[in-house]
Structure formats: structure tokens, C-alpha cells
Amino acid sequence: MKKYITLILLGIIALSSCHKKDNSIDGPSLNDVYGEFGVISTLDQNLDSVDFAAGQTAYFTAQMSKIIDWKITITGQTTGAVKEIIGTSSSLNQATTTWFGETTNFPVFGIEICDVQLTFEGESDTLTSTIKIIQPKLNPGFLISDFESGFNNQWTSFIQAGADMDFQIKTEAGSPQGNSYYNMAGTVDWDYLIGYLYFGASAYGSAQMPITGNGDNTYFNIMIYGEPGSINTILLFQFQEDDDLSGVFANSSEDTYSLEIPVNWEGWKLLSVKYSDIPCLVNGQPSTPNGNGQHNPDRLNQVNMLHLANPVTGFAKTKVDYIIFTQNEPLKP
């Protein structure tokens, strides 16, 4: 009898350990893969007018019948600035569509009305809306210049006596930020240097630039234009630190870090570099800094911007705009 009971007990124990009905599914929903596409709720947004400068953000909502690749394209009616937000989901919500006022393609947005367009991969449906920017996004950080206020007389500039020299602030619609940028162009067939513009800390009312971060969380950002059909330009930035806080930079005993940028693209491009990644260069080769050897953006005494080009390659031209140091992350204009 004991053996029969043992058999029965074993059977009960074994059969009791079975899976309950599982309401989850493996993989994506079949409806999302093979279902028919349709818009369940149309494009909507949390604000009709948004003040990015005040910290407001905009987001968009919509509901589709299946998971699909979608793209929101926001186009400034005045500036032509474009922001693209892409995703793959069956709904648009705050988590996936929040817009902080930044741009994808230059220029940056201004005070303007923007067209909003929602499109879907492989489908002809297009949903539209508009949103008004009351104030564009502010970018926290130390702005060296956006060239909107003209030439600062405390900057130092030098222009070689070459041909077709054109070093000046220009105001036109193609500016990536605001209306103005700094143009640098010319032909110098005896020297690499075409011209320079030095931004001394004194131009901002102190002996060191008002940057609070350290080298690892400070980013140097600049918008640079590459002239179509011309890849001659080399932009050289020199960052001179007042290591001993004397108020004066001494080249023999203090650090200079250099960023050499061959401008070999066409159109406007944002370049962001972590300050601690900027090397010390002597004649273009890595070298040992003369000062404390530490990246100290808070001791920056002067930033030099030199427009260089190989003398045998002829005319060189570039434009720069919106030179800014940011903290903790690269600039998101």
C-alpha cells in the first residue's frame, strides 16, 4: 500500500509544477508586423506657442494602428531651420517626441512659426500642424561671440596683405545662428597664415574667461563653414592658460593647447570638443605643455583663432559663428 501511495504522491508533485497561462507574448505583436496601417488619433501637441528660453518644451502625440517608423519634421518658416525627430512605435508621446528647441540642420530656430510634419515609412499619410516659437532656445555656457553685436574692439586681429582679403563680420540669411557670422578669406602665397582673430579674456572684463568647469566637463563649440570647392582652410585654435593667475599669459611657463581643424567639408557644421581632449602642439606635433600640464579652462587667458592655408594651394575661405564653451555636454543648438 505504501508503494501505491508513493506513486500517487510523486505523480501529484510532478503534475503540480506546471505553467499557468502566460498572457505575455514572445516577439513583437503580429499586428505591428503585418497589420494594416491607420491613424487612430491625429497629430497633436502640448503647446501651440512655446518659450524655449523660459525652459518650456514641446512634445507631440499621435496614435497609429501598428508599430511603424515615423519622422517628425519641424521647419522654421522664417529661418528655414529644421528639426527632425525619428522613432519606431505605434504612438507618439512625451518620452519619444520632446523638443527642447534645438535644431538638426542649421540654421538654429528663431522667433518664428514652424511647420510640423509627421510622416510614416512606406505610407503616404502625412499629418501636419504648426507651432510658434515665442523665444528660441538659450544655450547655457560662456559665449565668446555670436557676432551679432559687431566687432569687439578689445579683440585683436591681423590680416595679411594678400589678395582678395575679406576678414569681417557679415550679416545675411545664411547665418547658422542669428543673422551674422565672421568671414575669413584671402590668398597669401608666401605664408601659411592668412589672418587671425584673438579673443582675450580682457574683452570680457576679467583676466581669465568666466568658465567654471574643469577640462573634463567643459566643451569648446564652434560653427564652421566649409567653402564648397575649396578645402584649403586650416583653422587653428590656441587656448592660452594663465596657470599662475597672474593676469598675463607667459608662453615659456604656462600651458597652450591647440586645436587644428582642417576644414574639409562643405556647408555649416557644428564642432564640439571636450576641452581636456585638446592637445598641446608645437609645429603641429604633440608636445609637452610649458605650464602645469593640466587643462584649466577656468584659467583661460586668451583664445586665438588663426586662419591658415598652404601658400601653394591658393585662395582659402571659411566662416565661423557661435563660439561658445558649454558645461557637461556639447552644444545642442
Binding site: 510523486l10 510532478a14 502566460d22 507574448i25 516577439g27
Partner: protein
């Protein structure tokens, strides 16, 4: 204690080598195959050769060395020469087998090198789930060749490289005996960069409490050896199970309960999604001794996330192209792996343990694509085994009625019906004939369904295989062989597409409208039980899934010898 020590070596007392006193023996086999293939398709095909002839001769020459009664060393090399490849060309030399085994201290059996190993159906087991039906005659010849070539012994073992030890203890009271088995296998070497040294190891302890009750603790685990790669994300797949069997053995019948239950965990150390699940498989059986009839019924419940690489690896990876007539027609379309290829091409088979989920062919085996250890299945099953006392008739039938536990892409679950039967009839014994005459017939039928009003959600797939093989001894040792095999599949399903982490990322429509017919006839002369010469002609018609039918007709001469 003394009584215990005296019986320590109960399991290995009879385990000695070189019983005949020879210290060195030659073992191995030889085979010569000649074939002439005729390939035809109804489609316009001016690209694919219509005929191909080939063959090879090989010898597997092994040296079995017994330096003493407790040690055996086997080294086997293969010399293979493709037909027409004399004078040094197309000659291959290979090491086919290498191991050392023996008994240490008259207690522990060990084997190093190549090992053929298995544990339990849910830990380490070669389920061979794609070869649904076996048969006598020409199919048996072909199946024997591909099993030999892929190191499959029909005992559900995996051929691996590593080490294994086992020993046993016997007790005078309470427990009858305890057997310990363990193994370690190297799955892949490190590349000294980002790939770890990967091993597969485990073992079990089987306790026989008495003639009535046995249970075992089993564990198998794939693991990466830390610090062998510049990565801190090693992989692990651990499976722990309990096996048990309780039975009552009476004069006329035996009734019992047997099963296995356990858990698994799989994934990379730093991945947030570690797959863990459990399974349970229990069956009750009744054996009527006088009738030699065994009937069993069971219930299996394999969790959707149950992963056991050693039990879920397949011999055939369907994510590969045919190596023989891989493309045809002027469009050079892929020729899908067919049932005929499963019998014809040993190069399709692998003996590797796959950590990832291998692709399968729903038309061939959708119900249990990874054998009994297939994950995401639950349901009942029954088995009947019968053999009359004089072994004239042997019957075996299995039936599974299963369903998924977790839906794929939907909460609706697929349901599976799977029937598999074989019958072997010895007509010589039945009709008291002078010559041998054997017939073996088999049927395998599967149906998968997921009814739905939504078109893309519905699944309905049926497949059936029927095999009949016969051999008749015309004159002494000369057999006439004939075989017929029919396979057909129709319907639709959605097969999962998985990423490198085995997560389902999408589904691919699977549509089956295919059938295959195989006919073969030939002669076989058995020189001895281990040596034969055979010549046969076979014809395989494949409708190319209703799109691009083709036929493969082949004449083969096979000489086989084992020594």
C-alpha cells in the same frame, strides 16, 4: 564502513580492456561509394549540370592500444580519396578519433579526448528530432553512413572533446547504490581578444534506493572562463534537474511513474534579461510482461524560457545552404534542404553544441523541433510499445497533443498534434520461410493550428511522412531491397526571426505546398555482419514547394566494412 569499502568498485569490477590479451589491435572501417546523379527540372535550366558522377574511398584506421588491463588508447586516422583523385590529388588525411580511457584505482572510470556522452533528455541529450522515420533497405544504408560520418550512435549521444569520469558506490542498507557521472567539454577556444574560452560541464548522481525507487540529481552548465577574453560579459546556461522513477514490479505486470523536472537560467552576465524557467515531464507506464506490451501516458510542460543548449541543439542547422546542387534553374534559385538531403548529405550534419537557438524547418518537425526538451510546449502524450515474444512483430507508436505556453506575436497559442508510428515485421518468422524477409513501415503526422479570424494571425500547417522499406534474401546473404518514402506538407505558419540574443524581433511567413516521393530498389550482399556490398537505384521527386519541381535520380554502389 568495511562492508562499504569492499563494494566500492561494484560498477567497474568487470570493466577491463584487452580481454583477449592483445595489446595492440587495429579497428576501424572502410567504405567506397560511387554514384551517378541525374538532376532534372521542369523549369528552363541551361546552367545546372544535368548529371554528376562522383564517389570516394576511405579508410578509418584506428589503433587500439591496451598497455594494461585498465587502460585503452584509441587513435584513428582517416584517409579519404575522392573518386578520380589518385596520384596525390583530392586525398585527405584527418584525425577521426582520439581518446584515452581506463579505470583509475579500480574505482573511477575515465575517458579523455573524444567522448560520446549524454545525460538526461533535458540536460545533455541528442534528440535527433529531424530524422522522423528510420527504415530498412536503402534508407538504412544511407542513414548508417550519415550517422557514422556525424558521429551519431543512435543512442542519443553527442560526440564532443573533453573528459568524463564515473564511479559508483554500493551500500548494504537503505540505499542500494549511487552512481556518479561527470563531464567537461571545451566548446570553443578564446581568440585572446573578445571571445571567451567556453566550456560545457556537469554531472549527475543517480541513487537507486531499491528496485522500486530511483532518483537522480543532474546539472549541466555552459560557462565562459573569466579572464580569457578582454570582456566582462561572460555567458552562462545552467540546467539543474531531478530525475525519478518509482515502480511496482509484479509477476505479470510492472507499473511505474518516471520523469524529470528542473530549472534553467541562461544569458550574459551583464544583460538585464536573464532567461529563467522550469520544466516538468512525468509519465506513468504499465508493462504487461506476458504480452510484452508497454503503455505509457505522460504530461510535459516545458517553459517558454527554458533553455538547455545540450538538449536543444540540433544535428542540422537549417540556416545553411545545400552543398549538393545548392542552386538550380536559370535563375539559380536556392534549393531548400529536403528530406532526401537529410538522408543523402552527411555534410549537413553537425555535432556542435549550439548556445543559440537553431533554426528549424516547421514542415519537418514543428511540434517538437528540439526534441522532448523543446521549449514553450505543454501537453499530454502517450506511447505504446509492443513486441511479441518471438520478435515477429515490433510496434511502436507515440502521440503528442501539445500547445504553446506563451504565444508568439499574439496571446493566441499554437496547438500541435504529433503522431509517430513504426512497425517492423519479420516475415521469415511469421511464415517459417527459409530466407530473411523484413518489412519496416513508419508514419509520422504533424498538425499545427492557431485559428484566428485575423488572416495574418492564423496558422494551419500539416505534414506527413510515410516510409516503407523491405528487404528479401534472394539467395544466401544476397538481399533485394525496396523502399518508398513519401513526405508532404501544406499550410502556413510564421517562423520567428531572432537577433543574436535569441530574442524574437520579427516573423517570416512560412508557406508549405511541397511533397517528395522517394523510390529505391537494389541489391545488397552481406559478406559478414560487418561487411556488405550494395548497388541500388533511387529516384526522388520534389515539387519545389509547388513552384520549381525537380527530380534527382541516383545510382549508387556502396561498399562498407567495419573491423
Amino acid at each position: 564502513m568495511k562492508s562499504l569499502l569492499t563494494i566500492l568498485s561494484f560498477s567497474i569490477a568487470v570493466f577491463t580492456f584487452a580481454q583477449d590479451g592483445k595489446k595492440v589491435q587495429f579497428v576501424g572501417g572502410a567504405r567506397a561509394v560511387m554514384s551517378n546523379m541525374d538532376f532534372q527540372t521542369d523549369e528552363i535550366d541551361t546552367v545546372t549540370p544535368g548529371k554528376s558522377a562522383g564517389g570516394y574511398a576511405l579508410i578509418d584506421l584506428g589503433f587500439r592500444i591496451n598497455p594494461n588491463e585498465q587502460t585503452e588508447i584509441l587513435g584513428m586516422i582517416r584517409i579519404k580519396n575522392d573518386l578520380g583523385g589518385f596520384w596525390g590529388s583530392n586525398v585527405a588525411f584527418d584525425v577521426r578519433q582520439l581518446y584515452v580511457r581506463g579505470v583509475a584505482g579500480k574505482i573511477v572510470r575515465y575517458q579523455l579526448g573524444n567522448i560520446d556522452y549524454k545525460m538526461t533528455p533535458y540536460t545533455f541529450y541528442n534528440h535527433n528530432p529531424d530524422m522522423l522515420l528510420s527504415g530498412v533497405g536503402t534508407l538504412q544504408i544511407k542513414e548508417d553512413i550519415l550517422n557514422y560520418e556525424s558521429f551519431y550512435s543512435r543512442k542519443n549521444t553527442w560526440r564532443q572533446q573533453g573528459a568524463a569520469i564515473d564511479f559508483g558506490l554500493a551500500f548494504p542498507k537503505i540505499i542500494k547504490d549511487v552512481k556518479f557521472n561527470s563531464f567537461i567539454i571545451r566548446l570553443n577556444p578564446s581568440n585572446l581578444s573578445n571571445i571567451f574560452e567556453r566550456f560545457y560541464g556537469g554531472g549527475n548522481m543517480v541513487v537507486s534506493q531499491s528496485n522500486y525507487f530511483t532518483f537522480g540529481l543532474n546539472h549541466a552548465s555552459i560557462f565562459d572562463l573569466k579572464a580569457t577574453a578582454a570582456s566582462d560579459n561572460p555567458y552562462k546556461n545552467a540546467v539543474s534537474t531531478i530525475t525519478f522513477e518509482a515502480k511496482l514490479d509484479k509477476d505479470k505486470w510492472i507499473v511505474g511513474l518516471a520523469g524529470e523536472t528542473g530549472t534553467s537560467a541562461a544569458g550574459y552576465a551583464q544583460d538585464s534579461t536573464q532567461l529563467t524557467d522550469f520544466f516538468s515531464n512525468t509519465k506513468a507506464y504499465l508493462k504487461l510482461k506476458e504480452l510484452n506490451l508497454k503503455v505509457s501516458a505522460g504530461y510535459l510542460d516545458n517553459g517558454a524560457d527554458f533553455r538547455s543548449a545540450g538538449a536543444q541543439s540540433k544535428r542540422i542547422n537549417y540556416n545553411q545552404l545545400n552543398t549538393f546542387y545548392s542552386r538550380y534553374t536559370n535563375s539559380q534559385i536556392d534549393r531548400q534542404i529536403s528530406m532526401y538531403d537529410l538522408y543523402n548529405d552527411p555534410t549537413l550534419y553537425s555535432s556542435s553544441i549550439s548556445e543559440g537557438i537553431m533554426d528549424y524547418n516547421p514542415a519537418i518537425n514543428n511540434a517538437l523541433p528540439y526534441g522532448t526538451a523543446s521549449f514553450n510546449r505543454k501537453g499530454i502524450y502517450g506511447e505504446v510499445q509492443y513486441q511479441d515474444t518471438s520478435e515477429k512483430i515490433t510496434l511502436e507508436a507515440k502521440y503528442y497533443q501539445l500547445s504553446e505556453i506563451r504565444g508568439q506575436g499574439t496571446t493566441k497559442l499554437r496547438k500541435y498534434n504529433f503522431l509517430q508510428t513504426t512497425a517492423q515485421v519479420d516475415l521469415m518468422k511469421i511464415f517459417n520461410m527459409r530466407r530473411h524477409m523484413d518489412i519496416e513501415a513508419g508514419l509520422s503526422y504533424q498538425r499545427t493550428s492557431r485559428p484566428s479570424e485575423i488572416e495574418f494571425e492564423g496558422v494551419s500547417l500539416k505534414s506527413a511522412s510515410v516510409s516503407i522499406g523491405a528487404q528479401y534474401e534472394l539467395v544466401s546473404k544476397l538481399f533485394l531491397m525496396a523502399n518508398v518514402y513519401h513526405f508532404e506538407s501544406s499550410g502556413n505558419d510564421l517562423t520567428p526571426i531572432r537577433n543574436t540574443n535569441d530574442e524574437i524581433i520579427s516573423f517570416a511567413p512560412f508557406s508549405a505546398r511541397n511533397y517528395e516521393n522517394y523510390y529505391a530498389a537494389g541489391l545488397k550482399f552481406n559478406f559478414t555482419d560487418d561487411m556488405y556490398l550494395s548497388a541500388f537505384y533511387e529516384s526522388n521527386l520534389n515539387n519545389g514547394n509547388g513552384l520549381t519541381p525537380y527530380a534527382m535520380n541516383q545510382f549508387m554502389i556502396v561498399y562498407n566494412l567495419k573491423f
